[in-house]
Amino acid sequence: MAVNPGDADADELPSVLWGLDPVFSAYSRLYITDILQMKESRQVPGVYFYKTHPIFKVDVLGTVVYKREREDFYCYGVDDSTGVINCLCWKDEKYSDQGESTKSRDPSGSSRGFNIEDELKRLKETEQKSTVLEIGDLLRVRGTVKTSRDAREISATSFYKVDDPVMAEQISRMLEMPQVYRKCYDQPFQMPGDDLGGTAAGGSSRFHYLLSRAVLTLKEFFLEKEVARFRPYDVEFLLHPLIQSSSAEQESDQPGTSFATQIRNLLKETLSVLQDEGQIFRKIRTQDEVYNVTEQDKDLHTAIKDVLREDTKREKYAEKGCHVLHILSSVRQRYSQNLSREVLEVALTFLECNSDIISTTEAHYTVL
């Protein structure tokens, strides 16, 4: 049943967006009265709406006021003081074989102080006890909401009896629920990333979006063309399509900044991000802005490998390898004083992926 967002009720969130709501994926702690009154979604049966949030999994804690047993499941009526709901709690198959395992008890095994079979049996019995409840017991149920024969019920995915001798669990739940409601369920669902479309409100986030696209574009370019060194104007052309497409979407925004200025700003930011990540670096700080691409710079790789090869011959580093900082200072002396730790780490990871070097611990490397 396709939903046309135009004529559907404005209240209901379209189903493609449900995954964006974190409440949807969590076992929501709703009051039972709300679970009973939730409206079922028109788009997908089996999903319900509490205010603007799509819900299908819930978590309830309450007293058992009603019990019905069938062959495969227990049906407990749970009352949390706001409502009563039926919970279908499926019986575990492994407990049904309980009778058979009790008969054979190996006499030779009991010579050891700790009989593993007995302990396992006792563990199983304890587990089983926590799933059989009587009226008046406190039950915690997590499961999916279903509607069957006009009645809402919870089909439990997990349930257990709660030991609550001083009401601590129930009290803390009573205190916590209003908070959760106020912070979470009663808050209208906000669509994240509404500003990707380039509305006037999302100026800076649009820039972030452009920036991440630009970083990605440059990285792909370096990889594809095996660029070892470049100057900024060499790669400027890559950013043109990004600015052009984004400015086509927002016509009246920022009429003052020219195309060239936008490109320059974006390029500067992109290069700065790439430098911080260690993907590019400037070997020599001169007037000439030349950048080396870490993963493509063969000289750098050779320098690193030489350092490792020589130093691991020394007894001090033979077994454990060289620490990153040691490698950094050595390579700085050999190759370039301007090398940052991030660049070195990118290079080391690259070499390790190529199996030229291996890491002995998280921060130590050695050569093969």
């Binding site: 039972i32 009265t33 009973l36 009154q37 409206k39 007293t63 058992v64 006021v65 009603y66 009526g77 009352d79 949390d80 003081s81 706001t82 409502g83 009563v84 709901i85 039926n86 009226i135 008046g136 009645a151 001798p165 001083v166 009401m167 601590a168 009290i171 803390s172 009573m174 205190l175 629920m177 209003p178 409601y181």
Partner: protein
């Protein structure tokens, strides 16, 4: 249709008109007196079939006494002076004992933090009162 939910009430509220006859409630209090009484209908005659306990609230004035009919939760080993949590139906009679709570679930909660419990119940009530106008406004199912 399932049983109605048992709403939290304090002992002193049960004796007033706030709680209607036949309502399902949850409450807690200290047991002060245990008597063996007759079957459920008659309150005062000494026969070992029925059983009845009296719970009192913190002030232990007459206002805070509620009688609890414990037939449904037998065997009930009472400890005088201990705190109990009760869930059941209210029956208001004109007899001497006033209000009777027919217990469906009864458990000992000795050691409970009373002030915290009271605070939690009040907080929950505040929240429900805040929501009430909204719930009335939206269409109920």
């Amino acid at each position: 249709m399932l049983l109605p939910p048992a709403v939290f009430h304090f002992l002193w509220e049960i004796n007033t008109d706030l709680v209607k006859d036949g309502a399902s409630v949850r409450t807690y209090g200290r047991s002060v007196h245990v008597l063996k009484f007759s079957e459920m209908v008659r309150l005062i005659s000494y026969e070992p079939e029925g059983s009845k306990a009296i719970l009192s609230g913190p002030q232990s004035s007459a206002q805070c006494h509620v009688s609890v009919q414990t037939t449904l939760v037998e065997p009930f080993q009472p400890t005088l002076g201990a705190q109990y949590f009760v869930l059941g139906e209210i029956e208001k009679t004109d007899g001497l004992s006033g209000v009777i709570l027919h217990a469906r679930a009864l458990s000992s909660i000795d050691g409970v933090d009373l002030t915290l419990m009271q605070k939690a119940i009040m907080e929950q009530r505040c929240f429900f009162n805040e929501r009430m106008p909204e719930i009335c406004a939206s269409s109920p199912l």
